[in-house]
């Protein structure tokens, strides 16, 4: 019998919601393969002990929606030298220099996530045409595991086939091929059909409005994608950035979207930007309660919030239609928009959220109202839609707002009074517990993505662990971890990155019929500027000369 060599984390309070563990004081053991291990049979198995007395121990954080790599992120970097000049970071702080907060350089992003105890990040808007570059950027994002969601629903191929009445089996094959070709973890749809419609000069597209080129409605696209993803057995459901982002009154669109999904599993992302009413003198009001109620009674739906924070940031989205409208409010006044490769589009618009601005103040309020009104913490995830609402570095501040009612009220009191008066946030007493925060920031996202060995601390889980010094100021506590382990290796100690290994890339594989590749070969040969095979990103490219493990999640078709 081989002797195990275990590292013991002794004296921590463990929060592992996946196993119902709520602050239990006990040791955690890590084996030398980098996994959580069962308690030793003999003390001799313990070869190293780390005393984390009184510290809070959680699985490494999992960010389900953060724009950290790919074409539009890189365009934002190039467009904003002012942001980068003001935030240079050198080797005195990190293992390699870099810059940026809203649009950090890739290495800087990885280090900062690790410092906060995050060990996995998912880029939510990868265009299949841009997949190779997105993965190259993610490959240069150290420490964290990563993955990306491929964009479908504005690509001419899908819209043409839907317009031609293609059977579900063909759509499912196409989705499965896209997952494979772009090495994606899940499928996202952004302004379904609307990005495509903007190429034909449609300026808005409601849920039941037809895209003029194809005669297809967003509702049809959503249903087809959600149904076929479900059929393919992909764990993370359709990741939806709905119609009418940022438009006052879009709460009704969002409610109709939830109802229109007919019980199919779906994830509504940055739902804060989709929860606006038109009440009041300014024709802008909170629709958070209505959305929260709809989510509460729809067990098929999960959301992430996309909380905004006051200050300078940049909005990056595939939604060229809405970003073009938003470019009128760019601060500083510049923006990049693109129509992309019969695939989708993008828009990059710098923005400054101001606490003395009624709309911005109410956006901040709406995000918090959503957090405090959605009942099931397993179906709501903590995001700022980095960097669209705020840079991910504001997560610790957001956690404090959720956990500390009096702090929240103090902050609320500094906002424009008209906005405060228009909301019921002051009356919401809920305070999130550490256990619930562990759900919002790791256990929930990991479960939603189907990451069986991440987001929890059960025996056999990967030893991606965050250890925080207990502090009444939760912002301070979550800003800087005492220890972070990645696959059992200490990567952060006392808030400083001490090692920067490469994380794995997570992808989902579903089987598809070879028939789809033949029709795609024909389509690409006729219409596209590259051949189908050249668009496909190979496993070897992801593994990148052995730098980065590829973690394949296979699915099985339902029924």
């Amino acid at each position: 019998m081989t002797t195990r060599r275990l590292t013991e984390l002794r004296g921590g309070r463990i929060y592992d919601p996946t196993h119902g563990v709520d602050g239990e004081s006990r040791s955690l053991f890590i084996d030398d393969s980098g996994h959580i291990a069962a308690a030793p049979r003999t003390p001799a198995e313990i070869t190293q002990t780390l005393d984390v007395d009184g510290c809070v121990v959680m699985a490494g954080g999992v960010d389900i929606h953060t724009h950290i790599g790919g074409g539009k992120v890189n365009l934002a970097r190039m467009m904003l030298p002012e942001e980068h000049l003001a935030s240079l970071v050198g080797r005195d702080r990190h293992p390699w220099p870099g810059s940026g907060v809203a649009t950090p350089s890739t290495l800087t992003a990885g280090y900062r996530y690790a410092e906060m105890g995050y060990t996995a990040c998912f880029e939510p808007a990868m265009l299949p045409a841009n997949a190779r570059e997105a993965h190259m950027e993610l490959a240069d994002t150290p420490i964290v595991d990563k993955g990306a969601y491929a964009l479908l629903g504005n690509d001419d191929f899908l819209l043409r086939r839907l317009a031609a009445g293609a059977p579900d089996s063909e759509i499912a094959d196409y989705i499965a091929w896209t997952l494979h070709a772009s090495q994606a973890m899940a499928i996202k749809v952004v302004n379904p059909g609307g990005i495509n419609a903007f190429k034909f000069n449609q300026r808005k597209l409601d849920l039941d409005e037809e895209n003029t080129a194809y005669g297809i409605t967003p509702r049809q696209i959503l249903l087809s994608l959600a149904r076929n993803l479900n059929h393919l057995g992909v764990t993370h459901p359709l990741h939806i950035h709905g119609c009418n982002l940022g438009v006052p009154g879009n709460v009704n669109t969002t409610l109709a979207t939830i109802a229109g999904l007919e019980g199919l599993p779906a994830h509504l992302t940055h739902v804060q930007f989709h929860s606006y009413g038109v009440e009041g003198d300014r024709k802008f009001s909170s629709g958070a309660l209505a959305i929260a109620e709809a989510v509460n009674r729809s067990p098929n739906i999960s959301v992430d919030v996309g909380q905004i924070m006051f200050g300078q940031t940049v909005t990056e989205s595939g939604d060229s239609m809405r970003q073009h409208a938003g470019s009128a409010f760019a601060s500083p006044r510049k923006s990049v928009l693109m129509d992309i490769e019969c695939d989708a589009g993008c828009g990059v618009v710098p923005f400054h959220y101001r606490d003395r601005n009624f709309v911005n103040a109410l956006q901040w309020i709406i995000g918090l109202e959503l957090f405090l009104s959605v009942g099931d913490p397993w179906r709501i995830f903590l995001t700022t839609d980095h960097p669209n609402g705020a840079p991910f570095t504001s997560y610790p501040h957001l956690i404090r707002l959720l956990m500390d009612r009096s702090f929240r009220r103090d902050m609320l009191a500094t906002l424009m009074p008209e906005a405060v008066a228009a909301s019921n946030l002051a009356s919401l007493d809920r305070e999130y517990s550490l256990y619930e925060i562990a759900i919002l920031t790791r256990a929930g996202p990991a479960r939603s993505l189907g990451l069986a060995n991440l987001g929890h601390l059960g025996v056999g889980a990967r030893a991606d662990i965050a250890v925080y010094r207990e502090h009444a100021d939760r912002e301070r506590m979550f800003s800087s971890a005492r220890y972070v382990f990645k696959s059992g290796q200490v990567v952060v100690q006392d808030g400083r990155v001490v090692a920067a290994p490469n994380g794995a890339t997570h992808v989902t594989r579903a089987e598809y019929d070879a028939g789809i590749t033949r029709s795609l070969d024909d389509y690409f040969a006729r219409y596209m500027s590259v051949r189908r095979r050249n668009l496909m990103v190979s496993d070897a490219e992801i593994e990148d000369l052995g730098r980065s493990p590829l973690c394949i999640h296979s699915t099985r078709r339902q029924g």
Binding site: M78, T106, R132, D156, F200, D339, E341, N534
Partner: protein
């Protein structure tokens, strides 16, 4: 790794004398170790090679500059001051009904652009293809060879009048009465107004530095104006010598597209986007390392010692202090390159047994040599 012995022309050299590869490598490492402030110039490589180059640049406190940084900087200045609305090659192929070339010399710089992306038979929007027209607004001498089934209008315009013509189009489209506008320009304005998806194409590398910012800026302004009520897009052609890859890799690794350097573990962004001539003129540069995998570009003229990494056929004729032959991405070794529209990255596959090591391998070996104690 063994390299095919076929090519004998490209021997590594030190001081112009052929030596073993390892001798040249050691000599290059020695120059780099002695240098306080090298200029890493050229940056003609694939993504892997560029990653290795930036890693070495950080180690060596180097200033980094692409051989086409003048053109890249013109685009970046427009991007950073006002932004733009652009499109990609596949969109042009399928969506455009009017393609307006702004001072581009297609035959010289982009001989296959029309055939591949404008004059093809198929388009998702077949009606757009059926009505598609090409317009050449630029010097008469640069008029492209136009495929037979693509109607073309030629509006001869000297480069130094191009920005003015674009602004005139903008005025005409806004309905501003302008005196003495040529009939041809009026007709073009009418075509643009009637088009559903006009695409305006420029090539930063072909525009003289003095006018590039003006032309690109005016084109982006025109597109933005049209997009207030209708649709239009811009397209920049370029990307020679891996320029787009260098821009992208620099941006994601450092946060800056061009004009970046390193000093003692920190980034040293150069506020003004001046290029290597400026870097050399500012002084302090004491060594030039030139990397060029794709064309016969040479290091900038200087009296500093130089190291050249280039494939044998493409190495500058005058011998540098140290010459290290490298393979060509997509011929000697696989790689990835980012295309001119900045969206599609293409895989390159090796076509033969490698004649020389890749830039990545050479740069990594240099780094290892420097990291060892002298």
């Amino acid at each position: 790794m063994a390299y095919a012995a076929a090519e004998v022309t490209g021997a590594p050299s030190v001081g112009g004398k052929a030596v073993d590869f390892d001798v040249a490598l050691t000599a290059a490492a020695k120059l780099l170790r002695r240098s306080q402030r090298p200029l890493f110039h050229g940056l003609g490589s694939d993504v892997q090679g560029l990653r290795a180059l930036f890693r070495l640049a950080e180690h060596c406190n180097a200033v980094v500059d692409h051989m086409h940084s003048q053109a890249l900087n013109s685009s970046l200045r427009v991007l950073q001051s006002r932004g733009w609305h652009t499109t990609t090659l596949g969109e042009v192929q399928n969506r455009a009904d009017l393609v307006v070339m702004l001072g581009v010399d297609l035959d010289r710089g982009f001989p296959r652009f029309l055939e591949r992306h404008v004059a093809g038979k198929h388009a998702l929007q077949q009606a757009r293809r059926a009505h598609r027209r090409l317009v050449h607004l630029g010097p008469k001498a640069n008029t492209p060879t136009c495929p037979a089934d693509l109607p073309m209008d030629v509006l001869p315009t000297p480069i130094d009048r191009l920005a003015e013509s674009i602004r005139t189009l903008q005025g005409l489209l806004q309905g501003i009465p302008l005196p003495s506008v040529s009939d041809a320009l009026q007709a073009l304005a009418a075509r643009i107004a009637a088009a559903e998806y006009p695409v305006f194409v420029w090539a930063p590398g072909q525009l003289p530095t003095a006018t590039a910012d003006l032309v690109i800026g005016a084109a982006c302004e025109l597109v933005a104006q049209i997009n207030r009520t209708r649709r239009a897009a811009g397209l920049a052609l370029g990307g020679d010598d891996g320029a787009q890859s260098a821009l992208a890799v620099s941006a994601w690794l450092t946060g800056f597209g061009t004009g970046v350097g390193f000093s003692r573990g920190a980034l040293m962004p150069r506020g003004e986007l001046g290029g290597s001539t400026t870097a050399l003129a500012e002084g302090g540069i004491d060594l030039v390392l030139h990397l060029g995998s794709f064309s016969q570009a040479r290091p900038p003229a200087s009296d500093k010692p130089s190291i050249v990494l280039a494939p044998p056929g493409l190495a500058p004729s005058e011998a540098p202090d140290v010459y290290l032959p490298i393979g060509i991405p997509g011929i000697d070794h696989p790689g990835q390159l980012i295309r001119t529209d900045g969206v599609v990255a293409l895989p390159l596959r090796a076509l033969r047994a490698p004649h020389h090591p890749s830039a990545t391998e050479v740069l990594q070996r240099l780094q290892s040599a420097l990291e060892r104690k002298p």
